[in-house]
């Protein structure tokens, strides 16, 4: 890695929350337009964040805050490992760890809303996390490595001279990653643990002022991480094709999420789990079996 490379990675890390912020801005604007409203300015999430940071501090207890910080720390860690071209499984587990901390934070206040939110959040983790890790396993089976630098180097699926598009060889894994992204961005139909109209934002109900802002920051990082995950599915030897492809892929997924969010109603948690076990799991197993069979040379 040369100096410029490292500088770009650090820059990407710093810009990650801005990306998340922008995502929610565009999301709100587009949603408003779909509903025939004018909608807030594009940078509204950032204005909200600034305002929250300036509010007087009100807390419930301090363990609650420790877990909020741990949540953000582990999300940043996951993104950091991603930008260091690290191990996919470690990235998935550190994303999982951040979810555990978020749930523990919600558990550490004695509020039924918060607790229901935390329990739902855990179940959501149980439903989605294994699928995400299995998607990582399929990437490993296809490329022979869990480490991102090797994945970029080794993924071979020739397509019009661009020799590395995982998307075409692993469509099911890609679908699963999109599913995970929808769940983790708390978008309908999977906004179960923070259902604002039902359990008053569940996991986040007791965070306020600057501390709520910190959890928002964590959420922005989380979003960037998930879109980074999506972007693994496109890479190329030629730098500009690689960047353009990754951005296009992310944008397509973003639009897809928006459409799904606006056209569906919230599911219940048990239906999410069932959806994950009955549809997501069989799909990914089929994908793994296909990879194994094709690697054995049964199918060319």
């Amino acid at each position: 890695m040369n100096t410029i490379d490292i500088a770009i990675r650090i820059l990407l890390f710093v810009l990650a929350p801005a990306f998340g912020c922008l995502f929610f801005g565009i999301d709100r604007k587009l949603t408003a337009r779909m509903q025939n409203r004018v909608g807030p300015p594009l940078l509204q999430p950032w204005y909200d964040f600034k305002k929250l940071m300036g509010k007087t501090e009100e807390i419930v207890n301090h363990i609650h805050l420790v877990f909020a910080f741990a949540y953000v720390a582990f999300i940043m860690l996951a993104l950091g490992i991603f930008l260091m071209d690290g191990d996919l499984i470690v990235i998935c587990f550190s994303l999982g760890a951040s979810q555990v901390f978020l749930a523990l934070g919600a558990f550490s206040v004695r509020s039924p809303y918060s607790h229901v939110g935390a329990h739902r959040h855990l179940l959501q983790m149980v439903a989605v996390e294994p699928l995400l890790i299995l998607a990582a396993v399929t990437i490993k089976l296809q490329t022979g490595s869990f480490v991102l630098s090797d994945i970029y180097a080794r993924s071979t699926y020739p397509f019009f001279g661009i020799n590395t598009i995982l998307l075409l060889s692993l469509p099911v894994a890609f679908f699963i990653v999109i599913l995970a992204t929808i769940v983790d961005t708390q978008k309908s139909p999977f906004d179960i643990s923070t259902a604002h109209s039902e359990i008053v934002s569940g996991t986040f109900v007791e965070y306020s002022g600057p501390y709520l802002a910190i959890t928002k920051l964590g959420h922005w990082f989380e979003l960037s991480l998930l879109f980074a995950f999506v972007s693994i599915f496109f890479s190329s030897d030629v730098l500009w094709i690689s960047i353009a492809g990754k951005l296009t892929l992310d944008f397509a997924v973003f639009l897809l999420i928006l459409v799904i969010d606006n056209s569906t109603a919230r599911l219940t948690i048990d239906r999410l789990v069932k959806f994950s076990v009955r549809i997501g799991l069989p799909l990914i197993i089929i994908n793994i079996v296909l990879i194994v069979i094709s690697s054995m040379g049964v199918i060319a």
Binding site: I89, H115, M125, E129, V147
Partner: protein, 627 residues
């Protein structure tokens, strides 16, 4: 220095102290003797560690005759006594399986002893794997014994209790150091006896029932072991463990005894379908549970498996089935633990599952997976002992055996609650040792297509593990608002806190300084059979050939996440602490209880499905050899 003295101190000294405890019978001397024996054991284990380290490999020690005592014959005589004692217990309990198993053990054993001379050289073989076990048994075991001095202070039968506890430690040390399979078998049976006696301690109907079940299952395993001994001599020509491992037998049938030993190890380590005895064992006083789950009993099974790994590895089908049994156990127990309300039952399922993971790693049988197995064994012992000791204090100070009873413990007994939280974190959070082990197991299981089933088991098992541990912690943490004048929490006894904090410090310290653990313990233990261990750690990053974890960075993040808010909290005025949002309702009578999903994943129903599957797997395990 010769190794005879430390070996005697590790094996015979605790037994001697135990006998003295039994003879003196008064509380003062029992406490003193337990302390002395703990101190000596800890020192001895460290001495053995240094000796093996200096020697640069295994130490062969011949003790068939020592100071004029024919040790070998003595052990044979004691072994025969033990067999007859089991028979006597069986007759007294009027328990047919016990009687049958006791007799079945005698037949191959006595036949073998009548045909062959029982002594082999060397009688003890002390290498790094044995030293890791001696360290676990002696240090963690001793800490548990110290804890038990306080825990059992009002018990009527302390003399008997401490006799068996110390005998247990001696027998475990004997078992892991023995190179002679007959001696190993003898110590193995002594641990069975100790386990039975300690579970039975309370003498309630339930205790007797559980103890009998434990006896039947582990004696059944003993039968498999006893059958394996003459067969091993038949096919390998020796009952010396190191000689057996040096031979690669030509005959496929030679794997029958190996499979039998694996079967025996499964009973000892409570793998499915033999898990019921360990679940029943929770009726025993908590120090006993802690000892069974972390320092002794269950570790012996996986130790023997790890030790036999080179022989297992020669039969690919056998090792595959062993891996499947382990992975299956890990997954199913994690699922079953989700619905448990009793603290010790959750912990028991967690133990069985983690041992399953170790068994799976042995079955995968590569240098990396073997290293992961030893790593898991090492870190699991510390974290699980800590969790059990905490559960004991919760029982004595918090007066509850249920997870629901721990609701809001962060306010009532903060020290204990924080310990429990930290202990659980060392069990599941990255980058602690247990996580590293799981991560390596997961990645190593993707190396061969036929192992991908295990990848699924590990992934779902790990995620479910975080589910059941997190929702438990959730109840511990859900504190009610602070009252105006909070009652001063009653301080915990030093005899509780010192062992607990030592274990916690150990679990954290060795996770942070993983480098020396790998280079001093795991590397040398794997080296003789598998060459260099592929794991490395420079304490900053943990590397395997498949990936890496930035461990130091994560520890720094954890410290920052804990202390940054703590620092900010000081600047927050007291008025800023507000009650939770009530939505106009009254939360005074609020009981949270949590969710246990008893309807969705009831453990009894899962057991009904899991046990037949596991039995089929075992039949395959014993059957594939004939193919």
């Amino acid at each position: 220095m010769s190794a005879e003295i430390p070996v005697l101190l590790a094996v015979a000294f605790p037994v001697l102290m135990g006998i003295l405890c039994y003879a003196l019978r008064n509380r003062r001397s029992i406490a003193a003797l337990s302390f002395i024996s703990s101190a000596v054991l800890i020192a001895t284990s460290l001495v053995l560690f240094w000796m093996v380290r200096d020697n640069g490999g295994g130490i062969r020690l011949d003790m068939n005759e020592f100071a004029g005592i024919p040790v070998s014959e003595l052990i044979m005589v004691l072994d025969s006594f033990l067999m007859f004692y089991f028979l006597y217990i069986g007759i007294k309990l009027k328990n047919l399986p016990t009687i049958i198993f006791a007799v079945l053990q005698m037949i191959p054993l006595f036949w073998f002893e009548s045909q062959h001379q029982g002594a082999v050289t060397p009688s003890f073989y002390i290498d790094s794997l044995a030293v890791i076990m001696v360290l676990i048994v002696s240090i963690i075991g001793s800490l548990i014994v110290i804890y038990a001095i306080k825990y059992m202070e009002h018990d009527k039968k302390q003399a008997r209790f401490f006799f068996f506890m110390l005998l247990f430690l001696g027998a475990m040390n004997g078992a892991v150091l023995s190179n002679n399979l007959l001696w190993l078998f003898f110590f193995w049976e002594v641990t069975t006896l100790c386990c039975y006696a300690l579970i039975r301690h309370e003498e309630t109907e339930e205790a007797i029932k559980s103890a009998t079940r434990a006896l039947v299952v582990t004696l059944g395993g003993g039968v498999a072991f006893a059958l394996a001994i003459p067969l091993i001599f038949e096919y390998f020509g020796s009952v010396s463990f190191i000689d057996i491992l040096a031979i690669s037998p030509a005959l496929g049938l030679a794997f029958i005894p190996v499979a039998l030993i694996a079967l025996a190890a499964f009973t000892k380590s409570a793998q499915i379908p033999f898990q019921s005895w360990l679940l029943g064992a929770m009726v025993a006083p908590t120090p006993v549970s802690a000892l069974l789950h972390s320092a002794t009993m269950v570790n012996l099974g996986v130790y023997v498996l790890i030790r036999s790994a080179p022989a297992i590895g020669l039969a690919p089908w056998l090792s595959f089935v062993i891996a499947v049994v382990g992975g299956f156990t890990f997954f199913v127990t994690a699922l079953m633990a989700v619905s448990q309300v009793t603290i010790k039952r959750v912990l028991a399922y967690s133990t069985i599952g983690n041992l399953g993971l170790i068994v799976m790693c042995v079955g995968i049988n590569t240098p990396l997976s073997l290293s992961a197995a030893i790593l898991l064994l090492f870190f699991h012992a510390m974290s699980k002992a800590l969790l059990f000791l905490s559960a004991g204090v919760v029982d004595h100070e918090g007066h509850t055996k249920k997870i629901t009873g721990m609701e809001g413990m962060i306010r009532s007994i903060p020290v204990l609650a924080v310990t429990v939280v930290a202990a659980v974190m060392t069990m599941m959070m990255l980058p602690f040792g247990m996580f590293i082990g799981k991560w390596v197991a997961l990645e190593v299981s993707t190396t061969r297509p036929e192992l991908l089933l295990l990848t699924g088991f590990v992934i779902f098992g790990s995620v479910l593990t975080s589910l059941y541990y997190t929702k438990w912690l959730g109840l511990v943490l859900s504190a009610p608002e602070e009252p105006e004048h909070p009652p001063k929490p009653h301080p915990l006894s030093k005899l509780y806190t010192i062992p607990m904090f030592t274990l916690l410090a150990g679990a954290i310290f060795f996770s942070v300084f993983m480098g020396p653990v790998i280079s001093e313990l795991i590397g040398p233990a794997v080296a003789p059979y598998y060459g260099l261990t592929p794991m490395t750690s420079d304490n900053i990053t943990f590397f395997t050939p498949m990936g890496w974890v930035p461990s130091l960075l994560i520890f720094v993040l954890i410290v920052v996440a804990i202390f940054l808010p703590l620092k900010m909290f000081k600047s927050i005025p007291k008025e800023a602490v507000k009650p939770v949002y009530r939505c106009g309702e009254d939360f005074e009578q609020l009981r949270l209880k949590g969710f246990f999903y008893e309807r969705e994943v009831p453990d009894d129903r899962i057991t009904r499905y899991a046990n037949p599957i596991a039995v089929i797997l075992l039949v395959i395990m014993l059957g594939v050899i004939f193919i």
